[in-house]
């Protein structure tokens, strides 16, 4: 899928549920793939008894990776120019996250290529923002 400047408007939105009932196993999968083996994310005994959290919780980068899936589904493969944001709240096993992109600008870069700028917001099932960010991507 590619986005076309002629079909885009500031204010357009794209929303996806990027994870429904996050499992501890998926968090472990992320630990293994990313190499971030901090036991806070995979070791319930350490997370609760030593660190004092109610349970293990997701890596911030897992939340960002889940958000990135929504962004690339929207803008198409190989189109991202930039992607970034802030980790706003912890994500726990059982959470369901919804990621939203909103078009905030449509412009051309110095070479004349079309660029869309997106504002990103990922919220949990209680409406709490867990990640907010920005992305830019090439459009046709």
């Amino acid at each position: 899928m590619t986005l076309r400047a002629s079909e885009l408007q500031v204010g357009d939105e794209h929303t996806e549920v990027v994870v429904d009932d996050l499992t501890r196993t998926q968090i472990v999968q992320y630990s293994g793939a990313s190499g971030d083996y901090n036991p806070l994310h995979s070791d319930e005994i350490f997370a609760t008894q030593v660190a004092g959290f109610p349970s293990v919780f997701a890596h911030g980068m897992l939340t960002m990776g889940l958000t990135g899936k929504m962004v690339t589904n929207y803008v198409g493969d190989g189109r991202l120019r930039s992607f970034g944001g802030r980790f706003r709240a912890q994500v726990w096993p059982g959470d369901t996250l919804t990621a939203r992109a909103e078009v905030v600008d449509i412009r051309s870069d110095d070479d004349g290529a079309g660029i869309v700028e997106l504002r990103l917001t990922t919220t949990n099932q209680d409406g709490v923002e867990v990640f907010t960010g920005e992305a830019t991507a090439t459009i046709d």
Partner: protein, 181 residues
């Protein structure tokens, strides 16, 4: 992280895409990818973070024969830190992560990765600033810039991460306010 050699591998990309729940065949199916606009398998947007796998000194990976701060016979494999830091990440645990939290992450893509690339990452510190937090006292933010260059020394991805350290451990049960993870 300082990584001298980060080979971009198809199987690693596939596993990483699975871990973020992304079934897009552009991350695993070479035939599909060859027919796509991009023309080859690429990596998901946050993939370079997995370069930690190739950092020999990465502190958040257990090492053979060395104590690890996760649970085994005991809830933690290392003594609690002398300063009593309780709520932080791996307090006193050799991870260098006591009360250090990942606050922000930003990537700029100069081109997209493909299997067969071999990256090298050079990191340098960026800005540092302070903010008064509501629950954790003074928050000290610091930036780290990582430049990922390919086998031809071309810049492929620039990554900027912001870490935050707190004066005292935030309330562990409180999610949804200023303290990130």
């Amino acid at each position: 992280m300082a990584v001298q050699r980060f080979p971009i591998e198809l199987g690693h990309i596939m596993m990483f895409a699975r871990s973020v729940g992304d079934p897009n065949p552009i991350y695993s199916d070479e035939e599909y990818a060859a027919r796509s606009e991009v023309g080859h398998v690429i990596a998901p947007p946050t993939f370079v973070q997995a370069g930690a796998q190739f950092d020999p000194d990465w502190p958040l990976r257990p090492r053979i024969g060395e104590p690890w701060f996760g649970s085994g016979r005991n809830p933690t494999g290392t003594p609690r830190s002398a300063d009593g830091g309780g709520g932080g990440s791996g307090a006193g645990g050799g991870g260098g992560m006591a009360r250090g939290l990942h606050a922000e992450q930003h990537f700029e893509y100069h081109r997209h990765l493909r299997p067969g690339d071999v990256l090298r990452a050079e990191t340098r510190p960026g800005k540092t600033w302070e903010k008064e937090g509501r629950r954790a006292g003074k928050l000290v933010f610091s930036e780290m810039i990582a430049e990922y260059r390919d086998q031809d020394d071309e810049l492929v991805i620039t990554a900027r991460s912001v870490g935050v350290r707190t004066e005292r451990a935030p309330d562990a049960a409180g999610a949804g306010s200023e303290e990130p993870q």
